[in-house]
Amino acid sequence: MFQTLNEYSHQTIGVTLNAVAQVLVVLAVVALVAWAILFTEYPALHDFFHQLRHSLYVIPCH
C-alpha cells in the first residue's frame, strides 16, 4: 500500500525540526574549525597553518 498523506506529513515535520538543530551544530563546528585553522593567533597553530593561510586567496594573515 502507499503511505497515507497524514503519515507522510507527520514524519516530514519530525525530521525538519531535528534537522534545524543538526544544521546549526554542523555550521557551528565548521565555523570553529575554520577559525582555529585560518585565524587563530596561537603561535603553534598559526605557524603550522601560516603557508596555508597565504595560499587561499581570501584568508587574511599578518
Partner: protein, 361 residues
C-alpha cells in the same frame, strides 16, 4: 544655458591651470620586469624602474626624484593576504639620480593597484613634474585554484552533512560532538593571543638604533627609526659612509637588500648613489617576520659591508575581516547542506512512494 556656462568655465580653468605634466620638460616612466601580468603578489621579485626622461625619451642625468609608493586599497567584501598592508605607504625616497634612474627589486605584497606618486625635475629646486603612476597586479593563479578547491571541499562537506541529516542522524550525538569540539578547540581559538613574529621572537625593543661597521679606512653606519619594523608603518633607514676622520665620503654607491630570513629570499634590493656619502629612504616591512638588512658601500677608497637583523611586529587582521571571511566559508557549507537535504528529500520521497506489497494483499 547652465551647461554652456559650466563648459566655458571648465575650458577657462583648463587654460589657466594646465596640468603639471604638460608644462614639464621631464616626465617619469615606470617599467617592471616581468610585466605586470606576470607578477605574483607576495611571490615575484619584481625589478621596478622609474626613469626621469626628457622630451626625447632620454634619461636625465642628475635628475631629482621624489617617490611615495602606496599599497592598493582594500576591498569591502574580500580581504587580501595582508589586510593591514592595504592602503598604507610601502616606500619613500627623495634624492638626486646620477643617471636619472631609480631601480629597485621588490616583492609586491598584495593584489590590486599600487600608486607611485612621483615628483621630478632637472634638479631639486624645480620639480616640474608631478603625477601618480599605477601598477595593477592580479592574484596568483595558484591561489585562485586553491580557493576553488576550498570552496569545492566546503560545498562537498555541506552536501554530505545535509544528506546525513536528511536521513535522520542522531541529533543528540551530533550536538555532543560539536560541544566537545568547542571545549577542545575553544580555548586555543581565542583572538587575544599576542601576534608574534614567525618563529616566536618577541618584538619588544623598538628603540632607534645605529649599527656600525668598519673595514679598512671606511666606516658604514646604518641607523633605523623605529628600531623594529611594524606591519603597516614605515621605518626610516639612513646610511652614512665615513672615513677615518669621521667625514662623509663623497661619490659612494650603496647596495641595500632586505632579506626575509624565514623564507630565505630577498624582498627588496636597490643600489643608491650617495654623492655626499649618505642616503636614506623609508620602507615598510610588510611581513611580520625577521628580516636581515644587508648593506655594501663602495667607492674609490674601498668597500665596507654590514648585516643587521631586524625584528618585525605582525598585526593580527581586524576582527571584522576574520568574522566576515568565516561567515562566507560557513555560508558555502550551508549551501552544500541545503543541496544535500534536497537530494535526500528527493531520494526519500522516491523510496517512500514505492508500493510496499501487492495491491489487495
Amino acid at each position: 544655458m547652465l551647461k554652456k556656462v559650466t563648459l566655458l568655465a571648465l575650458t577657462a580653468w583648463l587654460f589657466v591651470y594646465p596640468s603639471t605634466q604638460s608644462q614639464s620638460d621631464v616626465v617619469v616612466t615606470l617599467e617592471t620586469t616581468p610585466a605586470s601580468g606576470f607578477i605574483g603578489p607576495d611571490e615575484t621579485l619584481t625589478h621596478t624602474t622609474l626613469r626621469v626622461v626628457d622630451r626625447d625619451g632620454q634619461a636625465t642625468p642628475n635628475a631629482y626624484l621624489k617617490l611615495h609608493l602606496d599599497a592598493p586599497s582594500g576591498n569591502a567584501f574580500i580581504s587580501t593576504d595582508f589586510p593591514i598592508v592595504e592602503d598604507t605607504p610601502l616606500f619613500e625616497y627623495e634624492g638626486a639620480l646620477p643617471e636619472g634612474v631609480l631601480a629597485f627589486d621588490f616583492i609586491y605584497p598584495i593584489r590590486g593597484t599600487y600608486r607611485f606618486q612621483v615628483e621630478a625635475g632637472r634638479n631639486a629646486a624645480t620639480p616640474a613634474f608631478a603625477d601618480t603612476l599605477t601598477l595593477t597586479l592580479t592574484e596568483n593563479r595558484n591561489e585562485i585554484i586553491n580557493f576553488a578547491g576550498l570552496v569545492a571541499l566546503l560545498l562537498g562537506l555541506g552536501i554530505v552533512a545535509g544528506f546525513i541529516i536528511g536521513r535522520g542522524a542522531n541529533a543528540r550525538r551530533m550536538a555532543m560532538t560539536g560541544l566537545n569540539m568547542w571545549l577542545g578547540l575553544g580555548l586555543i581559538s581565542g583572538s587575544t593571543w599576542p601576534v608574534q613574529a614567525h618563529g616566536g621572537d618577541d618584538v619588544s625593543d623598538t628603540e632607534p638604533f645605529t649599527e656600525l661597521s668598519t673595514q679598512g679606512d671606511l666606516s658604514l653606519a646604518y641607523a633605523m627609526t623605529p628600531g623594529a619594523g611594524r606591519v603597516g608603518t614605515l621605518n626610516q633607514l639612513n646610511f652614512t659612509v665615513t672615513d677615518q676622520a669621521g667625514n662623509p665620503v663623497p661619490d659612494t654607491t650603496i647596495d641595500i637588500s632586505v632579506w626575509h630570513i624565514e623564507d630565505d629570499k630577498p624582498v627588496f634590493a636597490t643600489t643608491l648613489a650617495a654623492p655626499e656619502g649618505k642616503t636614506a629612504f623609508e620602507f615598510q616591512f610588510f611581513d611580520g617576520a625577521e628580516h636581515e638588512v644587508r648593506v655594501t658601500a663602495h667607492n674609490a677608497a674601498g668597500s665596507v659591508d654590514l648585516n643587521k637583523v631586524v625584528q618585525v611586529e605582525g598585526l593580527s587582521p581586524p576582527l571584522s575581516v576574520k568574522i566576515k571571511t568565516t561567515f562566507y566559508l560557513v555560508l558555502i557549507v550551508l549551501v552544500g547542506i541545503i543541496i544535500g537535504l534536497r537530494l535526500q528529500l528527493v531520494q526519500g520521497r522516491r523510496q517512500q512512494l514505492l508500493p510496499v506489497g501487492p495491491v489487495g494483499a
